[in-house]
């Protein structure tokens, strides 16, 4: 950790709820912007400064506000800048690259989602001013947020403030908005923007008040930038406080989003900051009562896990079932907010166990996207529902076919995942089954879940090719381990497909037995009959399974023939790049080195496929061949669980730390693009399924704890079939 940048993980107990930073490092500002992202499950805003900073990446996103751009760029439009507050002291603009920074402190309170910043700054005029910034997104409402700025000075200064809305925002050089209207008066501003290609109207409004001094207020701004401006003389020792209460409403949520936003902002102003905070804090308390996981004996682990849960809670769709969590949450531009398998495999489980309503929203998002999945299957000549590798608003495939080469931006690199990384359809079915198992939500399963599972199974049966050897094969696919793409008989894909087909039979029988009316309706809708169900079972049996007699599974056809790299090279602590960067894309594909271990991922998800010592056999083979340190950010958390299952919790703890540091310490140098959502969800799984060893079965649940030796206690709650369970594991 020495040479890496660490947030303060060392303080006492309240510190396990607080991410702090006591100096400003301009070179690391994009990382800090990501870490200090706040939100409310509908809208998030990065920790960019209210006053801006050169080359910052300010951004706020709201679920469902997608826009398109050629070529194939579908992403959430960066919201008009609503959190900005510009300040002048004696005519000099406040910004940290001007004047002199005397003290800086930033802290994010994970309990309440309030981000605070305290700055002591010497203005170019010599005045020393104390500035306090606070912001939060109202966790009790999808549309509201608030910003407060206090200023004090050691001598009389003339202060000018400008607070409003700014449509001149961008998604990394691309424009998504047109301005359709705006207005401002002495206490409020509003803005009407519309996405350029999807035509989504957005109303933004803010009410601005200034307390503690007598000030002149005026409407101001420019085209696309309505503002409220205050000017006043600030006496030494006095404090002026500017409060900006914001509402943002899209045309998806309201018939007149512009009027709606204005009304919400004025209502918020009437209620006041404290009332908003109280409502938001209450909602947060309720969320943490469900989601918190206590780890005693390890402050870094405790804080990292709470931070990960916080980042998932602010990005998870709490107010809609038409959105899910993108690979980089709502905290940056990375992967353009697209939803991958990361969501169901890594991020849904914490919600299925702790906040099933949110998990349901995320699974319902997939159900609403079934039309897109059916289109994709049809376009590929298949039947059923083939979920897209990358999903945005409609469920159609939005994986870019070509992307600019990272070394030469004039070149394009072909991206295959959208074409052939097909395992996601089974991953989604697995998340549905896990959700059902722990929640017992039969209504969801009856009305929605069964349809996802059944139509997905139909895709697998249609895509499987029975060959002359009597087996069905899936050729030219990509498994989770993307160091090896375009392979045949990927073990993960094949076994998940077979599991999916078998499971679909079970689901069909359950539905027919327990909800015959719905079964009649759904089977008629899908044109599904007993012979097709029987055929699914046959395909499941015929799918090629490459297990050796000793239970060792070959990751894909021909994997064992690849060059075996010296494990010492893989474990070399001096290495600072991934093995793929070292060997090249084609070079690494010729070796057995793994970005993440497909077979162990399979063993994690479907342990029943690895009876006896098969798990140990596969773990012993694949774990040493994995690029744990620099491979996939998805790997370490699951490796932590597998190490526990292999009886090695201290090894598991090393993996756990890699996941814990994915964002708080910028180990991959890409945290500036946004939070690693899969790693965050995986961290919870490492603790709950790994160290605490929770297992839910058809008969109930039990734990097989395997704590790292310095952990004294792990405690958490989860809902089992609607009844809150409390789990405490002590050393």
């Amino acid at each position: 950790m020495n040479e890496l940048r660490a947030f303060d993980l060392a303080a006492g107990d309240p510190a396990t709820w607080r991410i702090t930073e006591d100096a400003f490092d301009a070179d690391a500002q994009h990382h800090s912007e990501t870490v200090f992202t706040i939100g409310n499950g509908q809208l998030c805003v990065r920790g960019s400064f209210e006053e801006g900073y050169p080359d910052d990446h300010p951004a706020a996103f709201m679920h469902r506000v997608w826009d398109d751009m050629p070529v194939s760029v579908t992403e959430l439009a960066n919201l008009p800048r609503w959190w900005g507050v510009d300040l002048w002291f004696d005519g000099e603009r406040f910004r940290l690259d001007a004047g002199r920074l005397l003290a800086f402190n930033r802290s994010l309170d994970l309990r309440t989602g309030v981000l605070c910043r305290e700055v002591r700054w010497e203005a170019p005029s010599g005045a020393v001013v104390e500035l306090g910034f606070e912001r939060f997104a109202d966790f009790s409402s999808p549309h509201r947020a608030a910003v407060r700025v206090s200023v004090a000075s050691d001598r009389p200064v003339k202060v000018r403030t400008r607070a409003g809305l700014d449509a001149h925002v961008e998604n990394t050089g691309l424009l998504h908005w047109r301005v359709a209207g705006q207005g401002a008066d002495e206490s409020a501003a509003w803005l009407h923007t519309r996405t350029r290609n999807t035509g989504i109207d957005l109303g933004s409004a803010c009410a601005v008040t200034l307390d503690g001094v007598k000030a002149d207020a005026a409407a101001g701004g420019a085209d696309g930038v309505p503002t409220v401006e205050h000017t006043f003389q600030l006496q030494a020792g006095r404090t002026a406080t500017l409060t900006k209460l914001v509402a943002i409403v899209s045309g998806i949520d309201a018939a007149d989003p512009i009027a709606g936003a204005s009304r919400l902002a004025l209502d918020a102003a009437a209620a006041g900051w404290d009332a908003l905070r109280e409502a938001s804090d209450t909602a947060w308390r309720q969320a943490w009562e469900r989601s918190d996981v206590v780890i005693e004996g390890d402050q870094e682990a405790q804080l990292s896990l709470r931070f990960s849960l916080f980042q998932l809670l602010i990005a998870a769709p709490r107010f809609t079932e038409h959105a899910s969590i993108g690979a980089k949450t709502l905290s940056g531009f990375g992967y353009r907010h697209h939803v991958f398998w990361d969501t169901e495999t890594f991020m849904v489980p914490p919600f299925s166990y702790s906040q099933p309503q949110i998990a349901r929203n995320m699974l319902m998002y997939r159900w609403h996207c079934l039309a897109g999945a059916r289109d994709k299957a049809r376009a590929n000549g298949h039947r059923g529902a083939q979920f897209p590798w990358e999903s945005a608003g409609t469920g159609e495939e939005v994986t870019p076919t070509w992307v600019p080469d990272s070394d030469d931006r004039a070149l394009l690199v072909r991206i295959w995942t959208g074409d052939i990384e097909i395992h996601i359809t089974a991953d989604i079915a697995l998340a549905v089954m896990q959700y059902w198992q722990v929640t017992g939500d039969d209504a969801f399963m009856r009305d929605h879940g069964a349809e996802i599972v059944l139509d997905g199974a139909r895709f697998w049966a249609s895509a499987a090719r029975l060959e002359s050897d009597g087996h069905c094969h899936f050729r030219n696919v990509v498994g989770p381990d993307e160091y090896h793409d375009r392979v045949d008989d990927n073990a993960y894909t094949n076994q998940l497909a077979a599991w999916h087909l078998r499971t679909a039979g079970t689901v069909a029988r359950w539905l027919a037995d327990n909800h015959p009316g719905r079964w009649a309706e759904l089977s008629a809708d899908l044109g599904l009959d007993a012979s097709e169900l029987a055929q699914w079972g046959e395909v499941a049996e015929a799918i090629f399974n490459p297990a050796a007699p000793d239970g060792l599974l070959e990751q894909f056809a021909g994997y064992f023939d690849l060059t075996d790299v010296d494990p010492a090279e893989l474990r070399d602590p001096a290495r600072t790049t991934s093995m793929q960067q070292l060997y090249g894309i084609d070079g690494i594909a010729a070796t057995q080195v793994l970005k993440q271990p497909d077979v162990l991922m399979l063993a994690y998800l479907l342990p029943e496929l690895f009876p006896g010592n098969a798990l140990a056999r596969n773990y012993a083979y694949y774990d040493p061949r994995t690029d744990h340190e620099h491979g996939s950010s998805l790997g370490p958390a699951i490796s932590a669980v597998m190490a526990c299952r292999a009886g090695e919790p201290e090894v598991g703890y090393q993996h756990f730390l890699r996941a814990a540091r994915a964002d708080l310490i910028d180990v991959r140098h890409n945290a500036g693009d946004g939070i690693h959502g899969a790693s965050a969800g995986g961290l919870w799984q490492a603790v709950v399924f790994g160290f605490a060893g929770l297992e839910v079965t058809a008969d109930g649940w039990h734990t097989t704890p395997m704590l790292p030796k310095h952990w004294t206690r792990v405690a958490f709650c989860f809902d089992h079939h609607g009844v809150r369970q409390r789990v405490v594991v002590e050393a």
Copy 2:
């Protein structure tokens, strides 16, 4: 013309210098923005309204201010909006989509480059205001421009004006600028922006004065938008006039472009509007004395030709030899300002004859780009200099490899021209030789022109493949007729290549004989010796020439085997789309229908290759197979010349009209993307080389006139070896 939109071509004599519009048509605003582009040979601005209009495409460009974006998007950055003036009457914003438009008139004076607009507008408050707008770019200086707005009212109104600079501009959804600084006071504003990827600094400044009333002035604006604001009470019958004098300087032209721009703007303010106009008008008078072509008996022809020359004069690089004219000039976003063969083949000749200094700048641009051309040849495994199909700042190839499909923006279409449309290297050599022939500029030829011709010839010799039939072939190429791409032995390419190789031998001998010192230096630099020169001659002889015994050239190998389409279908006046749109890309390629006639283009450029009745034979074959009406915009002007040479001036006149109307009447529905520069240059060639029949030979010059029967007189000047010649052709 009935159903098409025509500018007023019908008025009396002064009208042959004026483009006018007496109504505002919002649906045609992009077309009008292009037509009313003004400029000074360094910077141009589209005719977008000072106050803006919904969905307008405002843009201003300056030579050399290139920026890059992935993937391969290199284009001139839209300049910060310097021509804007925002107005409020009794608090209501003036824009033509609000209030009531009572009268509208716009006129562009081609003699002086001044664009005027008169508007009578009823404000929402009921006041009827008269507004007058004038703007021009100072033709005597690369950096200055001016805007003037006068307002009067039928009753007392409260007026607010805002004039400044605005960095929030875009290139069709892409951002090229970052704001690096700004400022404003009560009489001036300045802005410092920097291109995001090429790092070019740009200083913009304006001095703002208000005359005729007593007003309150204040600095204003927002981030990236420094402004000067005036508020005043306007009495009935009084006129207030706002004058905005602008300077724009890039870091390419000055060490401190920000200070430079501010100083130029303040100097302009000190000198005043009238002094600026006088300097600019004088420069324009000098330009027209050289470039005007008088046509009597045909007002449309007269006005169209002057308009075309105007558009070339404002885009041509008058102040630098490091820029040339892009395919769509500086008047829009089309083709991203890239320089194609259009420039040398269509736009350079009018300058070579009338303003040789400008032609020299354009050819010098290619000389400065030789390094890029050598890189391209080397990258393709060739020697010498292979000029790029599309060229921007450095001469490297900037043709996009893939572009979004026009029907489905998520798909990409492969663009082959950058790979295999190789004839441009010979087109450039031809322009060099034409320039030399008419100007006798031996110094240019000695120091620069010879190097272009010789290193280009080396490319051809290196790229030609001697095959077993004893001939050299160029396979898999694209000729000018882009309905047929990836063809073998394109007649245009082969014959131009052979001409280029023969010509290079002549140039080498001339240089060795007349400037032995320079020859010694250049041949040493290029490593060129007598054996390589001899080899060029051998390759020229060996290049396959597909002429039939009767002189009919096959456009490319296999062309005569393609399906012949009924000429009646081609000439169907009811057709409104190109034959390619009708048949599809592959469909049209299977026919003999031509986008433009390669063989006739060859005959136009190298008439010596078509002795006796060969010209007539080829004309009779290819002209009827050409999609004149909806094919290439490059075709009609040259077809006009060829019709004259075939003795059919009335047919030529129909072709001439098609070229004349390319922009003034939006026949291709794409004039909004910018002026068709090649058509504009071709129009001059149609009159001078076609109807007037001017031919410059080694011995002097002569004319073979072939006027349309209603033309009574054509008169123009040109420089022959530094001596002004006056040509008058009378019916």
